[in-house]
């Protein structure tokens, strides 16, 4: 982290960049927030630890409109999002100075709390330099421990790899965290009967409060005005008025990002109701891989995505029924 701060200060001082987007320490052990750093003294609060899960690439849409270059700290998975934004002309490469930061897996405070750990005073083992396998948590109700792996965000278990896909320089080391199959959960649902599938999603989606956190955090959902905020489709809704609208919103959201979603996992991370929203996007990714050839959005800057291209021999929509 010190190396990162030193380098950021240096680039700020020599005028290479006008500002830095990174994370600022929070007021609790686990809630650092994305922040802009413009002066040397701002860096007193700069932090980069295992709770810095937020994907900063989307902040670059606004940052690119500002004077001068912006230094942005991107984790390996965040760089896919940045590439996708570049593909869609939403960010300007020339206005960005990308420091690829190392990643040893990011933590999900919800998962820690799920284990009955509350009244948290401090957490040891979340520093990026630590290689601790266990988190030691001091709480109002005594000291608790939790395995690092058990506290990891879902996305880190199915990590796409620790290679930065776009960067100006890389600072910090990474550690492989993948220990699960990316499509295992999707396959599990696919194997269910229609009734089971319907019950599963009905239950999960009934929690949705239409806060739009998934949409607003999503780097692919970068529309200036979302269809669900506009009158263009008469789809403008602020609340789910019935069970259909929960589904409509999530199906359409997944459809709109199909072929563009990098599977960064922000939607599931930010959902206040813990809905596994990545299951929608990952289903499309799996379908695209299977039907139109392996494709990873954001791997590189490309002109056409899977849904803006075609081949003569593409599968017919009837394949859905045939696959059963």
């Amino acid at each position: 982290m010190q190396e990162l701060i030193a380098r950021a200060k240096e680039l700020l001082a020599d005028g290479t960049v006008a500002r830095v987007i990174g994370w600022k320490a929070g007021d609790l052990p686990y809630n650092p927030e994305p922040a802009y750093f413009e002066k040397e003294e701002d860096f007193d609060d700069f932090v980069y630890n295992s709770f810095c899960g937020a994907n900063l690439s989307k902040l670059m849409i606004e940052a690119c409109k500002l004077e001068g270059k912006t230094l942005v700290c991107l984790k390996p998975c965040d760089t896919y999002s940045f590439n996708q934004l570049l593909t869609e002309h939403r960010v300007d490469r020339d206005k960005a100075y990308i420091i690829g930061v190392g990643c040893k897996g990011k933590l999900d405070i919800e998962r820690i709390k799920k284990q009955g750990i509350k009244g948290i005073k401090s957490i040891k083992g979340a520093e990026i330099t630590d290689d601790a396998e266990t988190l030691t948590i001091d709480t109002l109700y005594g000291e608790k421990t939790c395995a690092f792996k058990d506290a990891m965000l879902e996305r880190c278990h199915v990590c796409k790899g620790k290679e930065h896909k776009i960067y100006d320089e890389i600072i910090g080391e990474s550690k492989d965290t993948k220990d699960a199959e990316r499509f295992a959960e999707v396959e599990k649902i696919e194997a269910m009967s229609p009734e089971e599938k319907f019950a599963f999603f009905q239950k999960e989606l009934s929690k949705c409060i239409r806060c739009n956190a998934c949409r607003n955090a999503c780097p692919a959902c970068s529309c200036r005005k979302c269809v669900f905020d506009s009158t263009k489709f008469d789809s403008q809704q602020k609340a789910n008025v019935d069970s259909f609208e929960e589904k409509m919103f999530h199906i359409i959201r997944a459809f709109h990002v199909a072929g563009r979603c990098t599977d960064c996992g922000e939607c599931s991370r930010v959902c206040p109701q813990g809905i596994p929203l990545h299951l929608f996007n990952r289903k499309f990714i799996k379908d695209i891989d299977e039907l139109y050839g392996e494709y990873q959005a954001g791997e590189e800057v490309v002109e056409r995505g899977p849904l803006t291209s075609y081949t003569f021999e593409d599968a017919e929509p009837g394949i859905v029924a045939e696959r059963g």
């Binding site: 489709f233 069970s243 589904k247 499309f284 695209i288 849904l307 003569f312």
Partner: protein, 147 residues
């Protein structure tokens, strides 16, 4: 026994037809007097690629029991490539509907050329029959509309 239980199920079926092939195919079915159930109502669109998945979901929301999209055969699109995009989009949409547990017979894509009046008619007959076998659409219906 309630009266409703005896009432024959009259499905609501929306058919989106591209102007150049399928709508003309439907016209040909008409001029050839090739019948299909009156449950099918056709909406004319310039091309199958004009059909937004939101139109289909909206139809279900408003009480449709089945939605079918007809376009030119792949390679014969009046706009040369429209149906290729429609094909991928609909494959994705149908797959998602299947994934969340909606019976996959409620949606269908069929390529019908302007010369295929017979195909249009048999397709519609088959589709209506399929919807009859699936019954009323409850999984994608809007609760607000039902009351």
């Amino acid at each position: 026994m309630s009266i409703e239980a005896n009432e024959e199920f009259k499905p609501k079926i929306v058919a989106f037809c591209c102007n150049w092939c399928s709508y003309a195919g439907a016209d040909l079915a008409g001029s050839s007097r090739l019948g299909y159930p009156a449950d099918v109502k056709i909406i004319r669109v310039p091309c199958s690629c004009r059909v937004n998945p939101m139109f289909i979901l909206r139809a279900f929301e408003k009480g449709a029991d089945g939605v079918i999209l007809c376009g030119c055969h792949p390679g014969d699109c009046h706009y040369s490539t429209g149906n290729f995009y429609a094909r991928r989009r609909m494959t994705m949409l149908f797959s998602m509907l299947d994934y969340i547990g909606v019976e996959n017979g409620r949606t269908r894509v069929e390529w019908v050329s302007a010369a295929e009046g017979v195909k249009f008619s048999t397709t519609m007959n088959e589709f209506v029959e399929k919807i009859h076998s699936l019954g009323k659409n409850v999984r994608l219906g809007d609760l607000r509309c039902r009351n």
